[in-house]
C-alpha cells in the first residue's frame, strides 16, 4: 500500500517501515572504533577505580581523622553529582581556567573520579565485614599490620563484595556513554555520526543496543572468569563467603 491512500494512512505508514541495516553495517568500522574506545575507557576506569577506591576505603576506615574527613567528603561529592557535570568540569571548566586536558585524558579522569567514590563505598562495606576476632587471631600469630591487611582483610572483603563491584564496573561502562557530550568518540558518540550519515535512526539504535549488550556480556564473562581465579574457595564450594 502506498502512502497517501486515504483513511488509516498514519497507521499504515508505521507498519510499512522497512528496515535497512545495510546502510548501518557499511559504517561498522566506525561503530567498532567507538566500541573499542568505550572498552578502553571502561578498562582504565575499572583498574584505577579499583586501586584508588580500595586505597580510599583503607584511608576511610583506618586513617587518621583528618584523612577520613577528606575522603568521606570526596566520596559524598563524587557520588552525589552527575558524571556529566563532573566531565564538563574537568574538560571545559578547567579549560576556561587555563588547564587544557586532552579530551580522552579528561574523560578518563572524570570516570575514575566517579567510579573511585563508588568503589570506596563498596570496599569499605567489605572491609568492615571482617570480624574483629579474625584480626586478633592474625595479630596473635605475629603478622604485621600490612600482612594482616593484605591476607586477612582484603581478600575476604573482596570476595564478599565482588558481585557488587562487578556490577558497578559494568554500570560504569554503560554510563560512559554520557562522555559523548564532551566530544569523546566512544560508542554512543560514533553511533550519532552513523545516524547523521545514514538517516537510519531506528536501525542505529538497535545495532547500538546490540553492541552495548555484547560489551556487557563480555565484561560479565571476564569478571566471572577472574572470580574463578581469584577466589578458589568459591570455585570449590560454590557458596558466598
Amino acid at each position: 500500500m502506498a502512502p497517501g491512500d486515504g483513511a488509516g494512512r498514519h497507521t499504515e505508514e508505521r507498519v510499512n517501515y522497512t528496515f535497512d541495516f545495510g546502510a548501518i553495517l557499511q559504517h561498522s568500522d566506525l561503530l567498532l572504533d567507538g566500541a573499542w574506545t568505550t572498552l578502553v575507557l571502561a578498562f582504565w576506569a575499572t583498574i584505577s577505580g579499583f586501586l584508588m577506591g580500595t586505597l580510599c576505603a583503607v584511608g576511610a576506615t583506618s586513617g587518621p581523622r583528618w584523612l577520613r574527613a577528606i575522603l568521606i567528603g570526596y566520596v559524598e561529592v563524587a557520588r552525589n553529582t552527575p558524571l556529566l557535570i563532573q566531565s564538563y568540569f574537568l574538560i571545559f571548566g578547567l579549560a576556561s581556567a587555563g588547564v587544557r586536558l586532552p579530551i580522552m585524558v579528561g574523560a578518563v579522569i572524570a570516570l575514575v573520579v566517579n567510579v573511585t567514590a563508588y568503589t570506596a563505598e563498596v570496599m569499605r562495606a567489605g572491609i568492615e565485614s571482617v570480624r574483629k576476632g579474625q584480626l586478633e587471631a592474625a595479630e596473635c600469630l605475629g603478622l604485621s599490620r600490612f600482612q594482616i591487611f593484605m591476607n586477612i582483610i582484603l581478600r575476604p572483603a573482596m570476595e564478599r563484595v565482588y558481585p557488587s563491584l562487578a556490577s558497578l564496573f559494568v554500570l560504569l561502562m554503560l554510563g560512559s556513554s554520557v562522555l559523548s557530550a564532551v566530544g569523546v568518540e566512544e560508542l554512543f558518540g560514533t553511533s550519532n555520526r552513523v545516524q547523521s550519515l545514514t538517516y537510519r535512526n531506528f536501525e542505529t539504535f538497535i545495532v547500538l543496543g546490540g553492541f552495548y549488550l555484547a560489551l556487557t556480556v563480555l565484561m560479565r564473562f571476564v569478571f566471572w572468569a577472574l572470580g574463578l581465579v581469584l577466589f578458589p574457595r568459591q570455585r570449590k564450594l560454590g557458596t558466598a563467603l
Binding site: 600469630l141 600482612q147 591476607n151 577466589f231
Partner: protein
C-alpha cells in the same frame, strides 16, 4: 629459672569499670594452669593481657621474658613465643586448613613453602585431622575447627599456649575431642594457661588452679583445692559447676 608468666598486682579497667583489681600469679615452665571463676570475674581479661590483646593499666607483667608493663613492649617477640586459641576459633574462612596453618610460619618465620608444609602436616596430624588438610573451615564441625585453630598456633612453635574458653561453644562430644588434644599437649610438656568451665578437666590436667572472683585471685593452689576448697566461695562455685 624464672617463671614463664609473672603477674604482679595487674590492673585493667574498661572506662569506669575496674575489671582486674590487682591480680598476682606465676606460671612456671611446663605447668598447666587453669583459671576458673564466674562470668565477669575477669578471668578472660587476665588471659588476654598475657598476649597483650588488652593493654594493662597497672602492675607488672612479664611473659617469656618480655616485660609488658613498659611503654613499648616488644609485641613481635611476644607473639613469637605465645600462641592463643579463642572460643570462636577465628579460622580464616577464605583459606584452606593447610593455608590457615602455614600462613604465619611463612610470613612471620619466613619459612619456605616446603618447610611450612612439613611443620603444618606434623601439627595437623597431632590434632588428628591429617585428612582435612585441603578442606575449608566451613566444611568442618566446630570441634574440628577448634583443633585446626590449635594446630595453627602450634605451627608457630610457641613456648606458651593460652586457651580462652575454647570448648564453650561446643557440645559435649566435640568438647571431648578438643580436650583430648589439649591433654596430649599437656602430657608433652607444653606450658599452658586455660580459662575454662570444664572442672573435670581442670582437676585431671591442671598443675595449678586459679580461682578468680570480682577481679582478684580469690584462691589458688594445686588441683586438690577443687576437692577441698578452703574458701566458702570456691566451695559454692565448685558445687555449682560439677
Amino acid at each position: 629459672m624464672s617463671p614463664i608468666v609473672e603477674m604482679r598486682e595487674l590492673r585493667k579497667s574498661f572506662g569506669a569499670v575496674d575489671v582486674l583489681k590487682g591480680v598476682t600469679f606465676d606460671v612456671e615452665r611446663g605447668q598447666v594452669a587453669a583459671i576458673i571463676g564466674q562470668s565477669g570475674s575477669g578471668k578472660s581479661t587476665a588471659l588476654r593481657c598475657i598476649d597483650h590483646l588488652e593493654k594493662i593499666n597497672g602492675g607488672e607483667l612479664t611473659v617469656c621474658g618480655h616485660a609488658l608493663h613498659t611503654d613499648k613492649p616488644d609485641l613481635a617477640a611476644l607473639r613469637k613465643d605465645v600462641g592463643i586459641v579463642f572460643q570462636g576459633y577465628n579460622l580464616f574462612p577464605h583459606l584452606t586448613v593447610g593455608q590457615n596453618i602455614t600462613m604465619a610460619p611463612k610470613l612471620v618465620h619466613r619459612r619456605s613453602r616446603k618447610e611450612a608444609d612439613e611443620i603444618g602436616r606434623e601439627m595437623i596430624a597431632k590434632v588428628g585431622l591429617a585428612d582435612r588438610w585441603d578442606y575449608y573451615p566451613e566444611q568442618l564441625s566446630g570441634g574440628q575447627q577448634q583443633r585446626v585453630a590449635i594446630a595453627r598456633s602450634l605451627a608457630m612453635q610457641p613456648k606458651l599456649m593460652l586457651f580462652d574458653e575454647v570448648t564453650s561453644a561446643l557440645d559435649p562430644k566435640l568438647t571431648g575431642e578438643v580436650l583430648r588434644v589439649m591433654e596430649k599437649l599437656a602430657s608433652e610438656g607444653m606450658t599452658m594457661i586455660l580459662v575454662t568451665h570444664e572442672m573435670q578437666f581442670a582437676r585431671n590436667v591442671a598443675d595449678k588452679v586459679i580461682y578468680m572472683r570480682d577481679g582478684r585471685v580469690h584462691e589458688m593452689g594445686g588441683p586438690e583445692i577443687l576437692s577441698q576448697p578452703s574458701t566458702p566461695e570456691l566451695a559454692d562455685f565448685v558445687n555449682e559447676e560439677f
